[in-house]
Structures are given as C-alpha cells and as structure tokens.
C-alpha cells in the first residue's frame, strides 16, 4: 500500500509542478491566482498522502492550516491582486 500511495504522491507532485507553469507564464493575473489556488489544493492532497506514507499523522494539521490560510491568501489576491475589483461590487475605498 505504501508503494502505491508514494506513487500517487509523486503523480500529484508532478501535477503541482505543471500547475506552476501558469504562475510563471500568466497570461493574466487571474490565471496566476487560479494556479495558486490549484497549488494550495494539490499541496493539501500531497501533505495528506505524505502523512500517510511517512506515518506522520500531524501532517493533517499542516494540511488544515494550509486549507484555512490558503483561502485567506486567495481572498487577499482577489481583493488586492486585481485592481479593478471591488469585492462584491460595492463602491469601495479599497485597493490603494
């Protein structure tokens, strides 16, 4: 079972490496944000698999932290990364 989970971990890591390409390439800021979101979710999956492979149950706590804080970073992206966006269409003094 460990070999299979290690292989799955390797596959997901390869997907993460591919997912880095849109961060590097763009073209738009929205694509970069989406790629960061993908890295967050894929990173969580990789952490859970790594915890199962190496027998470190506390890896789930790291995944929990990433789940909560990657969201937080993505929201800050949406609010600050795209200057034309005022969150939820309210007229806002945001983004300076």
């Amino acid at each position: 079972m460990t070999e299979f989970l290690t292989a799955a971990l390797g596959f997901i890591l390869a997907m993460l490496a591919l997912g880095l390409v849109p961060i590097l390439r763009g073209p738009g800021d929205a694509d970069r944000m989406m790629a960061a979101q993908l890295i967050g979710t894929g990173g969580i999956a990789a952490l859970l698999l790594l915890g199962a492979v190496t027998g470190v149950p506390a890896a789930a706590d790291v995944a929990l932290t990433v789940a909560l804080l990657a969201t937080f970073a993505s929201i800050a992206f949406v609010k600050k990364g795209l200057p034309h966006l005022d969150a939820d269409e309210a007229s806002s003094t945001e983004d300076r």
């Binding site: 970069r32 790629a35 005022d86 309210a90």
Partner: protein
C-alpha cells in the same frame, strides 16, 4: 535508488526552481504569487524532514500572512512599477550587487559545508529532560523552558516591529486606525465566507495552541491562525481595525512579554534562577504564559499586516 528518493529529489528541484524564478521574475505581482506558491510547497519538505512544527509555521506565515503582506506591498507599488522598471541601474551597480550576493552565498555554503560531521546537537539532552516540564513536545519544551529567554526576547522584537510600523504614520493619523476602511456587500459571497470561516478558524487556532503541549503546534501557529481570521473579518468590512491609541489594544500587545517577564522574575523571587519554573508547577505556568502569548501574537501579526495608522480614530 528508491521511489521515495526520486520523490525527494523532484520535490527539492521544483521548490528550488520556483525560488530561483521568484527572484528572477520582473513583474512584482507574478513574483508575489510565485512566493506564495513556494510557501505552500515548502511545508511538504519540512514534513518530509519530520519537522512538523516548522511546517506549520511555514504554512501559516509563508503561505498565509506573509503572502498577504507582500500582496499589499505589490498593490501599493503597482502605480510606480513601470517607472521603476524603466530606470535600469548601471552596469557597475549590477555587477557590484551580483558580486556581493555571490560572496554572501559562498560564505553561507562554506559555513554549511564546514559543519563537523555529525553536527553538534543538543537534541538528546532536550529529549532526556522532557519530563522536567510535563510537556511531551520537545520543540515546545525548548521554546518555553530550555531556551525561554530567546522566546521572550522574540516577543519583545514583535513589539518593536509594531512600534516601527506605527511610526510610519503621518502626524494627523497618529493613534488612528490602520489601513483603509474595507467595504463589501453585506449579503455577498465574501461577507458570507467571512462569517462562516472565522468560527472554524478560531477553533483550529486554539486547537493548534493546545495540542502544541504534546504534539506539533504551539502559540505562534495558533496565534497566526487567529490573526488571519481577524484580518478576514476586517477585509470583508464586517469590523474595523482598532485605533492604535486604544488602551485595551496596547494592554493585549504587551500581555505576552509582560506575563513572560513576570513569571521569569517570579523565578528569581522564589530563590530559583531568572525564568526557572518550579518543577511542580511548570506546566500550568508555561500554559499561562502561552495563553497570553497567543493573544499578543494574534493581535501583533494582525496589526503588522494591517499596516501603519492612516485614518484619525474618530472616523
């Protein structure tokens, strides 16, 4: 060569490549996103190295709060970015910068390569004396008991950092509320998330702190989680940043180092050394210090990301 070894090499190569690209990228926003992705991948390496405490801190700071801080900086720089990119420094300046960087890198790698093998370590001593405090997590033992002085001074450094950020305020805004007033549709998706996520995040933050006694976790990780949830509510416009002149705010800011110092001096009064805990009460005392520290860390990190006071306290 086993599958696991290949995996580690690939992981290391990806993270190193991403780090190099983040430095080389010309566009500030792209580099920031790259850095956040880097912060999300590095915890994998720390978990692989069995340093879960560090992984937690890296996930909280590199992937979360640090990314938000850098994004704020990138958003502020956006207007001046074309002008800054247009003026390329001269060849001598660039060569000098490259030379200085290479020298620093060479010195660092020499220091790492010249380490004696096996590296000197106090880990067995820390493990052997774990029973003295009643805590099972060796990292918390080192942070809170064996090297408590460092941790206390670290909290003082956080306090100095917030003084430094606040001193960037203009005269009119002195003592005022940090950052802009955020607004969002109170019935929108974002405000919905900002109502739903913080209760979960607060429970997880307290759990991180509580589990730190025996498992990976601790006051810093818990505090940064709480800070992130606070900032989320602020960004959704559901609450405002507190005025920097508020008495309660300042009391919370000094609570962590204050309690730490008081307990440390208590050790001197009761005939022990500075920061020595009486063996029978070590665990309650450490937990008491940590409770104060979680509050201080949460408020300090939140205010550091929120920035310098910009608006007068009345508005």
């Amino acid at each position: 060569m086993t599958v696991a070894t290949i995996l580690e090499m690939v992981l290391g190569a990806v993270v190193l490549g991403l780090g190099a690209w983040t430095i080389a990228a010309r566009e500030t926003f792209a580099a920031t996103v790259g850095y956040v992705a880097y912060g999300l991948l590095v915890p994998l390496i720390w978990v692989r190295l069995d340093a879960v405490d560090v992984a937690l801190t890296e996930a909280a700071i590199g992937g979360g709060l640090g990314g938000v801080l850098l994004l704020g900086a990138a958003a502020r720089l956006r207007a001046s970015e074309p002008a800054a990119a247009a003026e390329t420094p001269g060849k001598i300046v660039r060569l000098g910068a490259a030379g200085a960087s290479v020298m620093v890198a060479a010195a660092l790698s020499a220091a790492v390569l010249l380490l004696p093998d096996p590296a000197p370590t106090l880990a067995p001593a820390a493990i052997a004396n774990a029973s003295a405090t009643g805590l099972a997590n060796p990292v918390t033992n080192v942070l809170m008991a064996f090297r408590a002085m460092d941790t206390m001074l670290e909290k003082v450094v956080l306090l100095l950092a917030i003084v430094g950020v606040w001193s960037l305020a203009s005269d009119q805004a002195w003592g005022g509320r940090p950052g802009p007033r955020h607004q969002a549709d109170p019935h929108g998706v974002f405000a919905f998330l900002a109502r739903l996520l913080p209760p979960v995040g607060i429970v997880v933050g307290i759990y991180m702190f509580w589990t730190g006694a025996d498992h990976p976790g601790g006051a810093f990780q818990g505090g940064s989680m709480l800070a992130a949830m606070w900032l989320l509510v602020i960004m959704a416009g559901l609450t405002d940043t507190p005025p920097a002149s508020g008495r309660w705010l300042r009391l919370v800011l000094i609570a962590g180092p204050g309690v730490f110092l008081a307990v440390g001096l208590g050790g001197v009064c009761f005939g022990l050394a500075f920061l020595a805990y009486p063996p029978t009460n070590a665990k309650p005392l450490i937990l008491g210090i940590e409770v104060a520290m979680v509050l201080t860390i949460a408020v300090t990190l939140g205010l550091l990301v929120a920035g310098a006071p910009e608006r007068s306290p009345q508005r």
